[in-house]
Amino acid sequence: MPKNVHLLVGTNKGAFIFDGDSNRQSWTLRGPFCEAWPINHVVADGDNGTIYAGGGNEWFGPAVWKSTDLGRSWTHSSAGLVYAEGETPINSVWSLHHAHGGLYAGVQPAGLFRSTDGSETWRHLDGLQKQPSRAEWMPGGAGLILHHILTDPTDPAPIWIGISAVGVFYSSDGGETWEPRNRGTRQDYAPEGQRYPEFGQCVHSLAMAPGMPDRIYQQNHCGMYVSEDGGQSWDSMEAGLPSTFGFPSATHPRDPDTVYLIPLNGDVLGRFVPDAKAAVWRSKDRGRTWHDLREGLPQDGAYFGVLRQAMATDALDPAGIYFGTSTGSVYVSGDEGESWDRIAEHLPTITSIETLVVEN
């Protein structure tokens, strides 16, 4: 059965959708949607094709936008997406995750909400606010943002989240209670002897290996890591990479040993691709060895970065790999990263990319 592939793109000036087919060579761009609000994450319910876009507008506050017709029309709601009166108000939705019949939303300041009615109303999973370290959380450069949410595809209870400058936290009970899971990840900007704290590490992205929910890959502000025990301990996998800094990570849709990263030139020199030459780095052995993939990517004068949610894979065979840049370009590989095409430039700053594959 022929399939359509839709790229769901969040930018700082609206959501966009690219429509393509399983060849992934010809694309049509639509947008901007969501009234050109800053949109941090766009995801889809793969079962029914409903698209959700989370963001926040300086005038009108946070909301989750929803489209049941592949982006042709949109509604929005933030009912219940609030903290108690008197607390710092939520200013934006940063991450969305559809799982087990519900939709999770991570927000700034960091908190987790869940909707079971298709984003019409939201319930605060307030256990995270009661985590004993909560009062000591300090915002990173982008704020106190909860930007990644993972769940076990076979079990609704476990949840992992990533919060910038705070770290990875895990709940075994659907979000009632939480524990930090940062053992083995570094905080290079702490004084010597204090670089492996219980929390305070700056996670940038998390990616779960397919079929292995205990294997999680992590791109951190300070290094790249893999965990084989659901984040209870992390091992560095940065040897062989050009830097320890980057934002996104993505896993192959079927091979749990294959992971993709886009290292940047460090955190103080502009956060560009190293030497202004773009490369996606792929490991096929769970981070033991790495190979740079450059065919079709700019190898001169590339002064862009790729943000924490701006790389994705699709579920086709061979897998498609996608990333969007801070300078508004979108690159696509239809052959698992071997070669790349730029399918757009001059979009606003790209915050996120996800994929939706539907039967034609």
């Binding site: 009234e35 005038w59 009108f60 909301a63």
Partner: protein, 98 residues
């Protein structure tokens, strides 16, 4: 200037809503006549007519959102600002963005 006076009975007022807000609620109108005793009550009445509108204009500080301005008879208002019979209320976006 803090305004702590309490209006006890609703007044009939005319509300002008910014186009940027009305675009978010396709059924809404830019000029609305309604009854409310305070700006807080006015937002509740707007929300009753167009569910979700209050969240777009006020947050849980509690207060009017930082980049939203509400003027009652030409003066910048707060949630507690009372409304008088025949008041004109403007709900506007502030200069913001990049």
């Amino acid at each position: 200037m803090p305004d702590t006076s309490e209006a006890t009975s609703p007044s009939r007022v005319t509300v002008m809503l910014t186009h940027a807000l009305v675009r978010l609620f396709p059924d809404a109108q830019t000029t609305v006549t309604l009854e409310a005793a305070t700006v807080d009550g006015l937002l509740n009445e707007l929300d009753r007519r167009w569910p979700g509108m209050r969240d777009r204009l006020a947050d849980t500080s509690p207060g009017i959102r930082r980049h939203i301005n509400v003027f009652v008879d030409g003066k910048k208002a707060m949630l507690s600002t009372p409304l008088q019979e025949g008041s004109e209320v403007y709900v506007l976006t502030a200069m913001s963005g990049g």
